[in-house]
Each structure stands twice: as C-alpha cells, then as structure tokens.
Symmetry: C2
C-alpha cells in the first residue's frame, strides 16, 4: 500500500505520462464550457433541448431508436438488466466473471435488484459462443463487454459476435452491450458503432474512458426500453435537475476524441511492440485491438516498483501509477492511450523502455 | 396542458420573475468555476481533497461526525432509510403523505429497497407528536421534512420537534431530517443548523433549493452510517469518477447564499402580506417561516391563467410559471424567494398585485 503510494507519487511527478489525455483537473470543465454562451438553458429533470438534442444524436450514432443520458454506467447497466429481467419475468443474467457489475459495484445488481448472475467463461479469456450455448441456466439477458477490459481489452472475432447475437435472438434472450469503450473498438472491427450496436438490444457507452470527458453515460435501445429506463433513472436518484455539466463536456470531448480513436489504436499497437521487445515483459493482447492493453512483468510488484520509480525520475516518462499482482507471480498494469502519447518525446520513451528492459533483465 | 404552456411561455418572457435566483442557465457553472485555478485536481470516486474538504466542512456545519456528497437527495435519502432499516432488521419507515420519497421518486424506496412506508398525519397538515405516538406499526426510522414543502413550507414548533426527537430516541427509532431546505429555516427557529440537526440521527441537505446551486446533496451522520452510505452510493451508481462540477458549484453558491437566508425569509414575509391583501388570495402559511410559501387563488386554474398572463405582459412581473388545482376548486402555486426579489422594481410589483386583486375581484 505504502509502496504503491510511492509509485503513484513518482508517476504524478513525471512530466510525460504515457497513457490517457493528461491530468484530470477542473481545467476540463472550464475548457468544455469556455465557448458556450452563458444563456443556454439548463436541462431540467431530463427535459430540455440540451439533453434531448444530445440523446437524439447519440441514438443516431449508435443506430438505436432512443437514448438517455445517465450520470453513470453503473446505474445505466443495472437498469438495463432490470428492464430485461422484468420483461421476461426471470431475474437472472449472464456475463463475464470480470464484468463491471460483478466486481466494481458492491453487488448493486443483487442488493438493489435481486438479480442473479451466471458467470460465463474462465476469467482469463473471452466468452465464446460455446460458453453461451452450453449454459445450463435460463437467463433473461446476456451482457457482453467489448472490449473485455479486465483481460487487457480483448475482442472476439466479429463472426463470433454475430453468432452469439443470432443465438440469443432465436431464444428471446436479450443481448446487452457494455460499450464503456465502444468508440475505441470501431477501428479494429472496421464497422460503424451503429453496425456493432445492431447486434445488441441495448447498449451503454461511457464518456470518460477514451472520450476523456468528466463523467456520464448513454443507455440506448428501442423506445419502450428507453422510456422505462427513465423511470428507473428517477428511482435510482439519477434524474438530476441538471446533468448539463456532464452532457456539455461529453459532447465537447466526444467531438474532439472520437475521430482520433483510429490514431489511439495505432499508437497502442506501436507501443505494445516496444513493450514486447523488453525482457520479462509481455502485453495482453499481444497485438492490441483498441487503444488499450495490459503490460505483464515477470517480477513481483515489490521488485518492479523501485525499478519503475527510477525510470520515471531519470527520464520524466510516467509509465503507470500502480502495479497489481498477476496470477503468475509477477505483476501488471493497464495502459489506455489518448492525447498524451502524441505529446511524448519518443526518444525519451525509447530510453525509458530500454532502461526497463535492462533493469528487468538484470533483476531476473 | 396547453394552457399551462402558455402561462409558462408568458412567465419566460417576463422581465422580472418574483421567485428564485434567476434563470437556470449554464452561466451558473461558468460563474462558479471562473476564479478556480484550472490545475485543481478532480475528485476521484469519492476521494481527493476537493470532495473530502467539502464533506468535512459540511459535517461541521451540520454538527455531525461525517458527511458524504451525493449527486441527488433521492439517492441520499433512500440510502439513509435502507441503512436504518438494515440496522434494525425491519423494513418499515414513517413519513408525511406528501414526502418526496412517496410522491416524487417513482416508488424507488419500494422498488429498489423493498421498504414499506407508514404515512403519518393528514396530507394537509404537519406531523405531530400525537401522530407519532399513536402509530400502531413498528418502524425503523421516522423521516421529518423541515419545512414541509408540499404544504407551503410549514414548520412545527421547535418544542414539538424536540419532543418527537426524544420520543424516537427512547424507543431506538432513528430520526432522519429531510433538510432539502434546512438552511432556509435557520432564521425562523433562531437555532444553528447544527443545533437543529442535533435532534436527528441523519440529515440530508440540498444545494439547489435556496442555495441555488446546480445539483447535489449532502448526507450526514455518525461515522459508521456515513461509511455505509458510501457503499450504497456505489451500488446506486452515484459514486462518479468526478462529482466536482456539483461540489464546486455547491460550495460557491452555499457561501454566497446561506448568509442571505435571513433576508429571503424577511422578503417572503413581506410578499405574503401583499398577496394576502389581494381579493380571493391567501398564502399558506399565512406568515411564512422560511423563504417559501404557497399562494392559493379562489378561481379555477383555467380562469386564473389568462389573468396572470395579462399581468405579466403589462407589468413585466412574472409571478409563477404554473398553476395547480387545489382541493377547494381553486388553484395554487409555490413561491421560493431568492436573489431575484431584491432586483425587482417594487412599484411594478405593487402594480402587478393590484391588478391581480382587481382582476380576481371582478372574476369572482
């Protein structure tokens, strides 16, 4: 814990963070509102041009009938699960063992909605059609996360996705997309967001991952689904009198960053090659399929940390602010590329990765 | 509905709205952030100086051990009810028939938390000690709203409040304060916010009522209660990566408006006198005990609306944007005084109220 803090501190002091879009400061909101006229009216409990216009544009972008803005994905996705469970009269859904709902939400789905979860696949790999087809339990909804964040941002082949979608449709099982990082995978699949979403009955997207906004989410689907989700949004306490701080910034950063997703994806591929050339390092996936990947190091966290701190101090390059134990006795961290990477002096980055390779090689 | 829209339109075009702090536009956030340095770090999932500092100051102001910032009061209060119910192992709470949880939250308390409600008192009056003492059902928590908004913002005598508090404590029943408008009643009671909160086990306050912020709430209580509320906040989807747009603006407007609550209260008393001098008009309460009151008109909504529209057009004074039917065949609206009242040309206001009195007298 204390060691982690030291790595975090060294990272904070490093001039050039490798991932992300720069520091999360209040400058983000100032920038998003700088050119907006002060007389623009607030949204008001989900009504008003500001929120309705954004929802309409997002519904179009995602190829869905309607969309609703939520303060958080946690809220949006629990509600999606609840609606599909109520529709079928069966409170059971299936998802990956490392699904956000399973590991990051203090069991809200179970504690608030009394919905059971079926965990599909081994936690180290993606859900396959076979996993779905072999499932013994009846379910109302299958949730797929694209890319599967907790295993480095992996993606199934598009054909597999289509097959899972068809399988669900045939059985009246709703398919929900956890698209927290949907915009980030569009370049890899070579499909539009709307095409990908066409395989799903409901979709959630986030505005503070690759988009780099302040917070907020969109939940999209058909009109009755979206109407019902608004009622649940109020029940959850998410129907705020004003959501515009998040909406305006989501819109602002969406417009600026979505066109760059292809670049972030190429950058991730380039950087992964460099990491994979280091001794004792490998990335998952080996070849990234979005702007993100995991970096695994064959050294325990406690030994890797001081090495990294030394590198940050010497080069000014900040690789990660944390390390987590992996199952192989080593450690790992996540990288998601954004605007920061383009601003990085590449010679320093090369130096930093050479140092990493040497230090890890020596420590082995 | 269409008529209502017309009144709303006329109100929108009126130069001088009587209530509130002015139009809810994005200028509010621009103003709140104008002087804040851009390098101030965001809060991060409930952590960080920005949120922790504000929570500490609010806990002190409310005289409680700890406090937590929530995106909404709906979320904060359901969670308070849940914690107290879980603590006693009994999912039943009591409150006023026009409590926010009962009429404005799409039954979130029941649908998400499966908590039953006991409705105390007749909906036209305040809850008394007698109502509480005669309650047959066992409950875990009693919720009191001060002032009781839906009946014009009425308040019990302070002694009655103390007696109810003592009654609950003796029986191990938790007493929760819906203090959406707590800052607004401090002048009437002549007590500090902390003194009033001292009668309660948990307290919710809002930052967009009299304070006139953008959105957001504080829930305060003892340390274990607040810690538990943070877990539920995550379950509800309220533990956003960044709540700073609401926190910074809450802080900004709290500092500017809380010192003016005495003035808003005096203004409400003054204005209520003028309304009560009009034919066919009476205010509830007759003498306001906060910055708010209801104005009841002895004329059906459909007849009163065109009269009001005429007054707005002739004087530029906007009295209300809506009318609602009351139980006596007439109609009513709510007024909550804020900064707008001080900016009002008082001669025009006098003219507007004289016109109102004449028109209503003639229509009778």
């Amino acid at each position: 814990m204390n060691d982690n803090k030291t790595l975090a501190e060294a990272f904070k002091q490093a001039t050039y963070p490798v991932g992300g879009h720069g520091k999360r400061t209040v400058r983000m909101i100032k920038e998003a509102f700088a050119e907006l006229d002060g007389s623009v009216p607030s949204d008001q409990y989900g009504k008003g041009e500001l929120i309705e216009d954004f929802q309409t544009r997002m519904a179009e972008h995602l190829g869905k009938e309607a969309a609703v803005f939520f303060p958080s994905g946690t809220m949006a996705q629990q509600i999606a699960m609840r609606i599909w469970c109520d529709a079928r009269g069966l409170k059971r859904v299936a998802y990956h063992p490392l699904c956000h709902l399973e590991i990051h939400e203090e069991d809200g789905l179970k504690m608030l909605h009394r919905i059971e979860s079926v965990l599909l696949a081994d936690k180290h790999r993606l859900i396959t059609l076979q996993d779905v087809a072999e499932m013994r339990e009846e379910i109302s909804c299958l949730l797929l996360e694209l890319p599967q964040r907790e295993i480095g941002g992996q993606l199934p082949a598009y054909g597999e996705l289509e097959a899972i979608s068809a399988w669900c449709r045939e059985r009246g099982i709703k398919l929900h997309l956890d698209g927290a990082r949907l915009f980030e995978i569009v370049p890899y699949y070579g499909k539009t967001a709307a095409e990908i979403c066409g395989l799903f009955d409901s979709v959630y997207v986030s505005f503070y991952k690759g988009v780099g906004g302040i917070a907020g989410a969109i939940l999209a689907g058909d009109e009755p689904f979206v109407q019902e989700s608004k009622v649940w949004k109020r029940r959850h306490g998410g129907d705020l009198i004003s959501l515009y701080p998040y909406i305006v910034s989501a819109d602002y950063y969406f417009k600026r960053r979505v066109p760059k997703m292809e670049q972030y994806y190429r950058d991730a591929q380039e950087l992964a090659v460099s990491f994979n050339e280091c001794a004792c390092v490998r990335t998952i996936p080996e070849v990234p399929v979005s702007n993100m990947f995991h970096v695994h190091i064959e050294l325990p966290k406690e030994k890797a940390e001081p090495l990294l701190i030394g590198i940050y101090e010497e080069t000014g390059i900040g690789i990660t602010h944390y390390l987590r134990d992996n199952d192989a006795g080593g450690c790992y961290f996540e990288l998601g590329l954004g605007d920061a990477y383009a601003a990085l002096p590449k010679d320093r980055l090369r130096t930093a990765l050479q140092m990493l390779s040497e230090k890890l090689g020596n420590a082995r």
